[in-house]
């Protein structure tokens, strides 16, 4: 127990009182949370609850990176957005929602998304990174940047009625995304929510769990899901936790002889590696109906 010193203001004590009275959390963890920073990459189905719960919980500095505008077909799952923000940049729309929940935190927007040019700089200036994107090239880039900047990465994904969650690059033995998937899948084996569809509340569940993992990492409370992969089957209502490998010595970014470095990251071709552009060009018009 760390004593009762904390740097919370009177308003913070009132606002976060229900977390502060919790013995396993308390004023110290709340204080760490208020002094922490989290970068959320993707303000869509996963990023919406992540941004809202982290803003509500009092993460002091919240970064939101995305490059899309809100569309009507996003609203069935992206609860940080509103009918009134359709057509508006997702960073602005999500930022508005976060500030309306908690005006005492700082919200920063990165409207060009998390791209190679700013990857290292961005990953370096946040304590925890949350991958809430929807494509393979972004996932490799984000993981590489987190390894090189030494930051833990909360990675969630959802498609159809399935969800997955893990924490990469955490602790002495936590693997990175490349340790698990050294070779990229072929583009035809990857589907996105836009082309495969998703039951809207599934990214909501996974995103809420990502917010929890980010809070655990930022506050130093609880055991983060490192070396564990949580699988969710929404139709069966079933969660399964599986045990993952540790960091791989052969990994080309976090292994013993890394080939990707802070310098080479800029010129690494994620498009060539994954066989896909790092951002889908937007969904094809729906012709089913």
């Amino acid at each position: 127990w760390e004593g009762t010193e904390h740097q919370l203001t009177k308003e913070q004590v009132v606002r976060y009182s229900r977390q502060i009275i919790l013995p396993s959390f308390g004023a110290q963890a709340q204080s760490r949370l208020c002094n922490s920073s989290v970068l959320i990459i993707g303000a869509g189905g996963l990023g919406s609850p992540v941004a809202m719960y982290l803003a509500a919980a009092g993460v002091g500095r919240l970064g939101i990176a995305d490059r899309d505008a809100v569309e009507l077909n996003n609203l069935h799952r992206q609860i940080a957005h509103r009918e009134s923000t359709v057509g508006i940049h997702k960073c602005d729309s999500a930022g508005l929602t976060c500030r309306s929940i908690n005006s005492s935190i700082q919200v920063e927007m990165y409207k060009d998304g998390f791209n190679q040019q700013i990857a290292m700089e961005l990953a370096s200036c946040f304590d925890v990174i949350v991958d809430a994107t929807d494509n393979a090239p972004s996932r490799y880039l984000i993981s590489d940047a987190c390894v090189l900047a030494g930051k833990p990465l909360v990675s969630g994904a959802a498609i159809g009625t399935d969800g997955q969650l893990t924490v990469y690059n955490h602790g002495p033995d936590g693997p990175c995304y490349r340790c698990l998937f050294p070779e990229a899948p072929e583009p035809q084996s990857c589907s996105s929510c836009s082309d495969a569809g998703v039951l809207g509340v599934v990214p909501g569940i996974i995103g809420s769990l990502q917010a929890l993992e980010a809070i655990k990492l930022a506050s130093g409370v609880g055991r983060p899901l490192s070396r564990s992969l949580l699988l969710f089957d929404a139709l069966a209502g079933r969660f399964t936790t599986v045990k993952l490998r540790q960091r791989m010595p052969s990994c080309i970014v976090c292994g013993t002889s890394p080939r990707i470095t802070a310098e080479s990251l800029l010129s690494y071709s994620y498009a060539t590696f994954t066989g896909a552009p790092s951002h889908d060009a937007g969904p094809a018009p729906l012709e089913l109906l």
Binding site: G47, R139, I159, S189, P203, L229
Partner: protein, 98 residues
């Protein structure tokens, strides 16, 4: 001959008749059945379409995690892992959506 349980996740079930759970009998090539044998048997006996989305060369395609009894096959010996009667082998396709 051993019988193991096959579980599919992350959309791979669409290649296996849309069923997430199967029972599979495996005839070992040399004495004991390995995960390598299970993969070949699953392709031959259970896979219903597009084998290229399941296998590449003699293993699973990139982007698929293989688990034996809920543990990453990297911790148990990959293709050479011995599979015993009653074990559960899980194939998970990594998801990118959000």
């Amino acid at each position: 001959m051993i019988t193991c349980k096959i579980e599919l996740s992350g959309g791979l079930e669409t290649l296996f008749g849309d069923s997430k759970e199967h029972s599979l009998q495996v005839e070992p090539e040399n004495g004991q059945a390995t995960l390598g044998d299970v993969i070949i048997s699953a392709r031959d006996k259970l896979l219903t379409e597009r084998p290229e989305l399941f296998m590449k060369n003699r293993s699973v395609r990139p982007g698929i995690l293989v688990l034996i009894n809920d543990t990453d096959w990297e911790l148990t010996g990959q293709l050479q892992t011995i599979v015993e009667d009653g074990d559960t082998v899980t194939f998970i396709s990594t998801l990118h959506g959000g």
